[in-house]
């Protein structure tokens, strides 16, 4: 359940750049993985607290997103997809190489120290507490994003998705707003990665691999991009599907791939699209 919530957060952060701003990034894994390290390394090497770690798991990936985004948003379409994959690849290659820092493919195993919130104590070692922690953070992020997409800023993002040229001609700095959206999404992807590591007590270079980004893509598409509730549904549905199928026939990716492809062909607006269609 905790895991589903993490993927929900990852999926909605991806949906901000894909569903709202219209940029297909296959590089979100970079920020996801970085977020993981941003939690694990300070705790392990510097003795930092979990709260600090989670804060860093937003800031550090966001910082990287500024750099990566600065170059990436200059490109569009296919070239954008490819450049984000490459950045993620550089990340995972370095992650595997710098084992002294990252533990390489074996990863870093650590215990997150309890979070002191005045009278209230939250111990990540306890599964239930972790669950509530992840639930709270994800819910807050969801609220933040739903506010964001309804704000004037959100309208700019959507305008860029719908027609970049027109947005530019009415005076929006398209490049800047794309970058902004990329950075916000990067920060939240990092947060998802951070929570994932806290829950798993483990950070690894495999989280940086570009194919991890595929999860977010799948959830957002299947659920319905361009809405926030869509990716939530998508993540929930696919994760539970996987959960059941693992015992049945061990063919999770096969089903995921099949669901993804059939969604693209028959319901390009995802589950949300199907639901809305029925209501009409």
């Amino acid at each position: 359940m905790t895991e589903i919530l993490v993927w929900v957060l990852f999926a909605i952060s991806f949906d901000l750049i894909f569903g709202y701003t219209g940029l297909l990034s296959f590089g979100q894994a970079l920020f996801f993985g970085l977020g993981g390290y941003a939690v694990a390394i300070p705790i392990l090497k510097l003795g930092a607290g979990t709260g600090t770690g989670l804060l860093l798991s937003v800031l550090i990936p966001a910082l990287f997103a500024v750099i990566v985004g600065y170059f990436s948003v200059k490109l569009s379409g296919i070239h954008f997809v490819i450049i984000t994959i490459i950045f993620a690849l550089i990340g995972s290659t370095l992650g595997e190489t710098w084992a002294w820092l990252t533990g390489g493919a074996d990863g870093l195993v650590f215990t997150a120290p309890p979070i002191e919130l005045g009278f209230f104590q939250l111990d990540p070692a306890d599964i239930k507490s972790t669950y509530y922690l992840v639930l709270t953070v994800t819910a807050l992020s969801y609220l933040f994003l739903s506010r964001l997409v309804r704000s004037p800023l959100g309208k700019v993002f959507v305008a860029i998705r719908e027609n970049e040229e027109r947005a530019r001609l009415i005076g929006y700095d398209v490049q800047f707003h794309k970058l902004l959206s990329f950075v916000i999404a990067g920060g939240l992807s990092g947060l998802a990665g951070g929570l994932y590591t806290v829950a798993l007590k483990y950070a690894s270079a495999t989280f940086l691999h570009w194919s991890i980004s595929g999860h977010a893509v799948v959830y957002a598409i299947v659920g319905g991009g361009g809405t926030l509730i869509g990716p939530v549904l998508g993540a929930g549905l696919i994760m539970s599907l996987e959960h059941y199928l693992v015992n049945l026939l061990q063919a999770t990716d096969l089903v995921v791939g099949a669901v993804l492809v059939s969604m693209l062909l028959f319901a390009p607006r995802g589950i949300i699209g199907i639901l809305q269609g029925r209501r009409k």
């Binding site: 704000s151 800023l153 309208k155 959507v158 040229e165 027109r166 001609l169 009415i170 929006y172």
Partner: protein, 251 residues
């Protein structure tokens, strides 16, 4: 050109050229538009009319020469900067936000004049933007269709909306690229009627093939041919010009 660069000139192109590879699309063009006038730009296909608009709005950058707007050099600015300086335009091929409602289309344009976007504020709270949006919908006669998704509008309404969006940025100079393209004669007449109300008192540079529209609306006409200014004058002068007729009839 007798009027020269007087105080009333808002846009001034000085010896502007643009080449694509070896092709000179715009060749050494001088053009000045006065505040408040409606200037039409005509010429056969490939004469460089749209390219000229692209140069003014920063979509292309001139190979040589200067574009001055309100006395300021805007030759090398990006399209969004130029738009914020006060130039707005419509495109020949309708360019809207197809998935958004008519209301949001106009909203996005009105909102663009603001500078800071607080991500925590609901867009609807901005009363001034709302008022301007509604006023523009009223002006374009699209109020009744405000909640229609723009891709479902009729083509004529899309053309009007395109103009509405361009006007929502409150431009000092409006460039119209073939507003009646793709409309039947009947629809064109309707559009021109509505344009009158929309455009009165504004400074406009109009590219148009439909000579009826041009004659109806314009104060002055500039004729482009092979990227060069062939003639400039009042509508009646242009009508009588031997040279212009030659270009159009090939005689």
């Amino acid at each position: 050109m007798a009027e020269g660069i007087g105080s009333g000139v808002i846009l001034n192109l000085a010896k502007v050229s643009k080449s694509f590879g070896g092709l000179m699309a715009v060749n050494y063009v001088n053009l000045s538009v006065r505040k408040g006038e409606l200037r039409a730009l005509i010429g056969p296909n490939g004469a460089g009319k749209t390219t000229l608009l692209n140069l003014i709005t920063g979509i292309h950058t001139a190979t040589s020469g200067k574009v001055l707007f309100k006395g300021e050099d805007i030759t090398r600015l990006s399209p969004d900067r130029i738009s914020r300086k006060g130039i707005s335009r419509t495109l020949q091929v309708t360019s809207l936000f197809p998935g958004l409602t008519v209301y949001d289309n106009v909203w996005a344009a009105v909102q663009s004049r603001k500078t800071f976007f607080n991500p925590f504020v609901r867009a609807e709270r901005w009363a001034d933007v709302r008022e301007k949006t509604e006023a523009m919908l009223e002006l374009t006669g699209l109020s009744g269709k405000a909640q229609t998704v723009c891709s479902e509008l009729s083509y004529g309404d899309q053309r009007i909306l395109e103009m509405g969006i361009a006007l929502s940025t409150e431009p000092d100079l409006l460039l119209l690229d073939e507003p009646t393209a793709g409309l039947s004669t009947q629809e064109s007449i309707g559009l021109v009627k509505r344009m009158r109300a929309l455009l009165s008192g504004r400074t406009i540079l109009l590219v148009e093939h439909d000579m009826g529209v041009v004659m109806e609306l314009s104060d002055r006409i500039t004729v482009l041919h092979y990227g060069e200014v062939l003639a400039e004058g009042s509508p009646s002068e242009i009508m009588e010009s031997e040279e212009v007729r030659k270009v159009y009839l090939g005689t």
